[in-house]
């Protein structure tokens, strides 16, 4: 990429950072509320479920907005990648969107439907599980490579469906459930909190297992990934990633033991997610659509990118500011029966 100089080089890099940031925000924020839907299956008590819902109800609309930012961000900043990725991931993408319909409306419908709310509990849980699986499939499908010809998607409707993408789907399921369980440790009390702690330890072990599996699998399957991580001196520079992952996994475990720590397990789980995401970025950079399209190939018109980046620079700090404000406003443990309904 040495032929690109100045803004032709940097503008797509900055844009890619913006997309990566919004995806990371989405994964962490909507991750824990999708995870609550996954955990729903294991917490059948109505009062538990009410508390789980209430712990996230003020935030879920905002959380899901990061998904729209990710989608439109890709559309705006990297139109060529968007035009390839969307047709390639058609099936899991639409399945995810429809699943999100069910779980999204369940947040509100559930309360109106009471006492006949069981079907919305199921919709919430099933919708969350399907949406999570689809996100994992899309991730795995994208990492696995996309067939591109003449700048357009040239593969089949089910190219994304591979053993690797299945593993990614299951891994994400466990990961989101872990985020949710640690969220419950932070936001609830009493027996719900205790049970959430127990589940979280189990889920943590599962997630670490999946992280190891993917970390072994990707270099074996994709030579470029092996080259990226294990060539000298990369291995030296990149070693903090697995070391930090191990550190957060261990401290998360210790935070979950006993009953003294409410906040730290959640933050440690978030850190694990962020590190896994950074790891993926390291493996795939600078490709947006491996193995065909780099961020420079996919970049939109520089004037469009600039116009949007100005908005991002001004508005995202505000968005983060009032997001923090709302989380702070509804801080602390959820009281039983709290809600507007």
């Amino acid at each position: 990429m040495s032929t690109l100089a100045g803004s032709a080089y940097w503008l797509p890099v900055i844009c890619a950072a913006v997309i990566a940031f919004s995806i990371a925000m989405y994964v962490v924020l909507d991750g824990f509320d999708l995870g609550l839907g996954i955990l729903f299956a294991f917490f059948p008590e109505e009062s538990d479920r009410d508390q789980m819902m209430n712990s996230v109800a003020p935030f879920w609309d905002g959380n899901e907005t990061w998904l729209i930012l990710g989608g439109t961000g890709l559309f705006v900043l990297f139109p060529h990648a968007y035009a390839v990725i969307m047709p390639a991931l058609y099936v899991p993408l639409f399945s995810m969107l429809l699943a999100l319909v069910f779980r999204g409306v369940a947040f509100e419908f559930r309360w109106v439907a009471k006492p006949h709310h069981r079907k919305w509990d199921i919709a919430f849980s099933a919708g969350s599980i399907v949406a999570t699986l689809c996100q994992g499939f899309m991730l795995g499908g994208l990492l696995g490579g996309t067939r591109v010809a003449a700048g357009q998607f040239a593969g089949g409707a089910f190219d994304w469906l591979t053993p690797f993408s299945l593993v990614c789907g299951l891994g994400l399921l466990v990961g989101y459930a872990l985020l949710a369980a640690t969220w419950l440790v932070m936001k609830t009390s009493g027996s719900l909190e205790r049970r959430a702690r127990r589940s979280a330890r189990l889920l943590l072990v599962g997630l670490v297992g999946f992280i190891i599996l993917v970390s072994v699998w990707t270099p074996l399957e994709f030579p470029g990934v092996a080259q990226r991580w294990f060539s000298w001196p990369n291995i030296l520079y990149l070693s903090p990633v697995p070391v930090a992952t191990a550190f957060f996994a261990i401290t998360c475990w210790r935070g979950l033991a006993g009953s003294r720590f409410f906040f730290s397990p959640f933050y440690k789980a978030v850190a694990l997610f962020v590190l896994a995401f950074v790891g993926l970025l390291i493996s795939t950079m600078p490709y947006l659509v491996p193995p065909a399209i780099t961020i420079w190939d996919a970049a939109g018109a520089p004037s469009s990118q600039r116009f949007v980046l100005i908005g991002v620079a001004i508005l995202v700090p505000f968005i983060l500011g009032y997001t923090v404000f709302v989380y702070y406003h509804f801080r602390g443990k959820v009281r039983a029966d709290e809600g507007y309904h």
Binding site: F307, G311, L315, D337, E338
Partner: protein, 468 residues
């Protein structure tokens, strides 16, 4: 069925379902903000009860708007990737600004509005409501700017078949945008006003929630009587703007096949697209010229002035336009009649009027959908007027995938949104009950309040709704 038609049907279906919710929540958020401000100023309980009541309905509607809106931002790529390539440099940033300036604002502060009744001081609650209302209107600003650019592109240059931005100001404020924005926002406020008015009238008919019902009636009639005539003027100006920039659309929606003299206004006809003429036509001479050119003998472009493959199909836009205008006239009549009855002190007792407005709640939605049918079908055969034809804009996606996803959308939306509307109906029947929590903001009462209000809401939900 061919892929283009399937892709068009899918977008038409998903966006038609979607628009119902924003059209309602744009107005409703402004209504709730007004109620909370009135409550703050006057301290009157019924404003607060009304605000809480409509906020619950808002939450359900907004959730449906969010979940039906997310697919839109992905359909550009899945079904219309060629469009995304050609117009993405321009449409993309406009949609991006919508997300940045509006979505986050409304989605985040909705949380405060919905769940803050017991945790939030009243001023913050009212501020949150105002921010949500500003967010929904800002959302409309950007989306209508993007749509208007597809209708009347400006401020761009073409290079290798791709549109590149040249002047963002000209792009955002493209020629049809101010008209479309004001026309649509007014439509949204009218639609909500009509729903509020209808609910008030229905309560009065069964003698329920009288104080709240009267407030709703007064606010609804006031909005209708003022905004109805305003909308007529805006619509007229919007039409003139369309005549200037998209004459084929006007010729199509007026079913004006040939320019042989001063234009008639066709009140009714069965347009025959093959013979290129109207059957069973009822028309008023000169009136078409008068409306479209504001002169008695003005000439109006006709369909035959445009090549057959560069003009829209007539039937849909002809009828949809008449539905929209007909409803508009009806709304103005309802508004002015209500204002007249109000002045005479008979607004709350004239049962035929209460019954009429009680049934009129869907009219705004129907008018909005009709209006969009007109403007979108009238742009055909282009997706971006004069730049990209619709049949050149789709993705390399198999017909089977399109048919499958369309079927899934119809089934899921059909089930989910029908149930949602049923729930809204249920909440409306249940009515604005419960005591106001004016004292909830006092810190020492905080810990107990949620329990109390939750118990109260459980009680509420078990009480029998009035028969409306």
């Amino acid at each position: 069925m061919d892929a283009v038609l399937l892709a068009r049907l899918q977008f038409a279906f998903t966006i038609s379902v979607h628009i119902i919710f924003p059209a309602f929540t744009i107005g409703l958020s402004a209504f709730i903000a007004t109620l909370l401000i009135l409550w703050q100023r006057t301290g009157k309980d019924h404003f607060h009860r009304l605000a809480r009541f409509w906020t619950k309905i808002f939450a359900v509607s907004f959730a449906m708007g969010v979940v039906s809106g997310i697919p839109m931002s992905y359909e550009f790529g899945t079904n219309w990737s060629r469009f995304s390539e050609v117009a993405g440099n321009i449409i993309g940033p406009l949609v991006g600004y919508e997300v940045l300036t509006a979505f986050f604002l409304e989605a985040t502060f909705l949380g405060v509005l919905l769940f803050g009744w017991n945790r939030t001081p009243p001023w913050l609650q009212a501020t949150a409501a105002v921010l949500v209302a500003v967010g929904t209107a800002t959302s409309a600003f950007w989306i209508l700017s993007a749509n208007s650019w597809m209708q009347t592109p400006a401020g761009y240059t073409m290079k290798d078949g791709i549109a590149y931005p040249a002047d963002w100001w000209a792009i955002v404020f493209n020629p049809s945008f101010p008209y479309r924005l004001s026309h649509m926002l007014t439509a949204a406020y009218l639609t909500t006003s009509l729903v509020v008015l209808a609910v008030g009238a229905r309560y009065l008919l069964v003698d329920a929630f009288k104080v709240e019902a009267r407030t709703m009636m007064r606010m609804g009639v006031g909005m209708l009587a003022v905004l109805g005539p305003v909308q007529l003027l805006l619509g007229d100006q919007h039409g003139l703007n369309t005549l200037e920039h998209q004459p084929a659309k006007i010729a199509g929606l007026e079913a004006h096949w040939r320019d042989t003299g001063p234009a008639d206004l066709v009140l009714f006809a069965l347009p025959d697209e093959v013979a290129q003429m109207n059957r069973a036509q009822i028309a008023v001479p000169h009136l078409g010229s008068l409306i479209l050119t504001h002169s008695w003998n003005g000439r109006v472009p006709a369909l035959e002035d445009f090549a057959a493959d560069a003009r829209p199909r007539v039937t849909i836009i002809f009828f949809a336009f008449r539905v929209m205008v007909g409803i508009g006239v009806l709304l103005i009549t309802l508004g002015l009649t209500g204002a007249f009855l109000w002045k005479r002190g008979q607004l709350f007792t004239t049962r035929w009027y209460l019954r009429a407005v009680g049934w009129s709640w869907p009219l705004g939605f129907i008018a909005i959908l009709s209006g969009w049918l007109v403007t979108e079908n009238g742009r055909q055969p282009y997706i971006v007027y004069g730049i990209l034809r619709t049949d050149q804009a789709t993705s390399p996606v198999a017909t089977g995938a399109l048919a499958g996803s369309l079927t899934a959308f119809v089934l899921v939306y059909g089930v989910v949104f029908s149930i949602g509307i049923y729930y809204i109906r249920k909440m409306i029947r249940h009515g604005p009950q419960g005591a106001a929590v004016a004292t909830a903001a006092l810190p020492h009462e905080l810990p107990n309040q949620p329990l109390a209000s939750a118990r109260e809401s459980v009680r509420e939900s078990r009480s029998e709704p009035p028969a409306i």
